[in-house]
Amino acid sequence: MDLRFTPEEAAFREEVRAFIRDHLPREIRERMRLGHPPRKQDTIAWMRILNERGWAAYSWPTEWGGPGWTPIQRMIFLEENLSAPAPELLSFNITMLGPVLIQFGTEAQKKHFLPRAANLDDWWCQGFSEPGAGSDLASLRTAAVRDGDHYVVNGQKIWTSTAHNADWCFCLVRTNPQAAKRQDGISFLLIDLRTPGIEVRPIISIDGSHHLNEVFFTDVRVPVGNLVGEENKGWSVAKYLLGNERTGIARLGKSKERVRFAKEVAKEVRMNGRPLIEDKAFRQRVAQIEVEMKALEITQLRVVSAYAKAGGNRPDPLSSVLKIKGTELLQASSELVMDVGGPQAMPVWQQELAALANEPAIGPDWAPQMAPNYLMLRAASIYGGTNEIQKNILNKAVLGL
C-alpha cells in the first residue's frame, strides 16, 4: 500500500500541468479564475487544442482516438484541467456519447460521429429528462413511431443542458408503449437538432444564466440509421451510459480552485480592520474544508484505483460517496467564496455591459461571479441523481437496507 504517486504518475501530472499552462489561452483562464462560466467558443477552442494533443477523448480506447490512459491518469488529467481552471471537457461528447457508441454503435456511427465528437465539431446534448419525471427516468413519454426509413418523434424533453449550443441530441424515446415493463420499449436515438419540428426554449436558472432548456419535438423525422443498439432496448444503453466510469464525479479540482480563490480574495477584503485571511474563524473554516477535500482526494484515489484493478468494468457503488461528498464540498467552497465577497458579491455587476458602454467597471473584478457560482452549485446536489437518491443507492448497493 502506497498513497504516493509513482514517479510516472508524478511526471504525467507535470506534463499535463505544463501543457495546460502553455496552451490554455490566457483570456479564457483569467475569465474562469474569476468564476465566469466558459463561453461556447471557449469550450470549443479548448477541446480542439486538447484534441490536437490527443487528449480530448481522454477516456476512449486508443483505437478510437483515446490516449490509452489508466484511470489514475484520467483522474489526474481531469483534476489538473479543473484546477487550472480550464473549461471542462464536454461530457456529453466524451463520457456519455463516446463510450455508448463504442459499445453499441454501428461501424458507420462510430466512424462518423466519434472523431467529430472528440473535436467538438458536433456539440451533443442529452435528451433524457421529461416534465414530471425527475429522477424517475423510466416514466418517459416522448414517442417515436416507425414510418418507413424514419422514426417520427413527438414529445418534450426538459432540463436539457446546453441544448441551445448543441448540434445533436442523444435521446431516449418510447418506441413500444405497450411493453409490459416501463423500462422496456424504450430506444436510444441520435437526433440532429437542425431537423424540422424541433424547438428549443430556454430555462433561466436562479443565477440568471441560460444552461437549461426545454426541447419540443413535433413530427420530427429521424433516420432509422440513427438508432443506437436495438430498438426497444434503449434502457440498457441508458443504464450503460449512466453507470459508466465516474472518475470525475467529485469535481474536486473545482472545489480546490474555489478555495484557492477565496483565500486570494480574503487577502484583499477586511475583517475587524485586518485582512480577512488573518481572521481565525475564517482560517478554521478554510482548514475544515481543506481537511475534507484531502479526505475526498484519497477516497477518490481508492475508488479509481479499485476501478482500475477490477478491469474498469463496473463503477464502485462507493462512487456515490464521491458524489455526495464532492457536491457538499463544491457547495461549501462556493459558499465560502460568496461569504468572502460579502456585500460586494450581492450586486448584479454589469461588468461587460459597462465595458461595452466604455464606462469603467463598477464592481471589483473578483465579485461578479461569486453569487452566481454559489447559486448554480445548489444544483450540484440535485442533478445526476439527488444526494438523497445517492443515499438510497448506498443503502441498497452497499448496506443491504
Partner: protein, 378 residues
Amino acid sequence: MDFDLTDDQRLLTDSVARLLSDSYSFEQRKALLKTEQGWSETLWQKYAELGLTGLPIAEEHGGFGGGAVDVMLLMQAFGRHLVLEPYLATVVLGGTALRLAGDAAQQGEILPEVAAGSLRLAFAHYERQARYDITDVLTTAKPQGGGFLLEGAKSVVLHGATADKLVVSARTGGSRAEAEGLSLFLVDADAPGLARRGYRLRDGTEAAELSLSAVQVPREALLGLQDAALPVIQRVVEAGIAATAAEVIGAMETMHAMTLDYLKTRVQFGKPIGENQALQHRAAEMLVAMEQGRSMAMLATMSLEEEDAAERARHISMAKVGVGQAGRFVSQQAVQLHGGIGMTEEYAVGHFFRRVMVIEHLFGDTATHLDRLAEQVA
C-alpha cells in the same frame, strides 16, 4: 411576557395581507421586476394610504406612532411576498436616522413627506473597502463656506438610485476605522457632484454606487451631532437588522409552505415524494430552524427599545446569527427538496432563496456577528 397582538396590530396585519394577496402574486411581482424601476410607485402610494409609510413615524409628523413590533409584523408580511418597494431604505433606515438624530426642523420637513409617501430616503453609509465595518469610513466632509464639502464614495446603497434624499455618513474628523469623527448629512439626490450608478442586487432589489465629488451641503444638512454620529449609525443598522430578520421569517414561511405543498403533490416513482421519510424529516428540521429563527427575530425587535447599548448590540448580533443560519438552512433545503424546478427563475422558491441570501450579507454577515459575540464570551 405577552405574545399576543393588539387589536390595532391585528387590523394592520389583516389589511396588509389583503393588499399583498391582491397585488403581490408571484406573476405580478415578476412583471414589476421587468419594469425599469423594478418596483411600483402605485403600490407605494397604497402603502401610504394604508398608513404603512408612516407606521413608525410620530403622530405629530403625520405618522401612525407605531412601535418596533408593528414594523416587525409589516416586514414579515413583506417577506412572505418579497415586496420590492423601498420600505427598508426609506422608512426603516432613513426614518430611524431622522427619528434619532434629526432636529425639529429636519423632522418637521421630512418625516411628514415620508409618511405621506411623497419622499423617499436612502442610507448611504457603507463603503467598498469597509465590508461590514461600520467605522471604516473614508468619505470626508470638510467645512467650507459655513457648510461642508463632501468627497468620497458609497457602495451598495439600498434603493440609492431612486431616493429623493440620502443620509450620507462622512468623516468630519478622525481617521479610517476610528469611532470618533463621524457625522451624518442629508444630501439631495440632485446635488451637484453627486453621481449615482444604479443596478440590481441578486434578489432583484435596487441598489447604487454613489460617488461624491465636491458635493456642497449647507450647515443645516448636518443630521445630529458633528463627529459623534456612530451611535446613531449603530442604531440605524440595528433597526435594519431587526426589520430584515422579520422579512426573513416571512420568506421562510412561504418557502416552507411551498415545500410542504410540493412534497404533498409532486409524484415520483408512483407516489408523492413527501412519503419519503428522509424528506419528511428534512421538512421537520426546516420547521425547527424556522421556529428558532422566529424567536430570534422577535428578540431583535424587542431589543431595539433596550436602553443598554451593549446588551442591545449583543441581542441584535444573536438574532443576526440565528436568523442568518436559519434562513440559509431553510432556503437551501427548500431548493433541494424542490429539485430542478427550484433552480429556475420561473419558479418562486429561488427568488425567496436570493432575498434571504442578500439579507444575510447586509449589516454584517453571520460570521461577523458571531465574532462579536465570541469576543464577549466570559
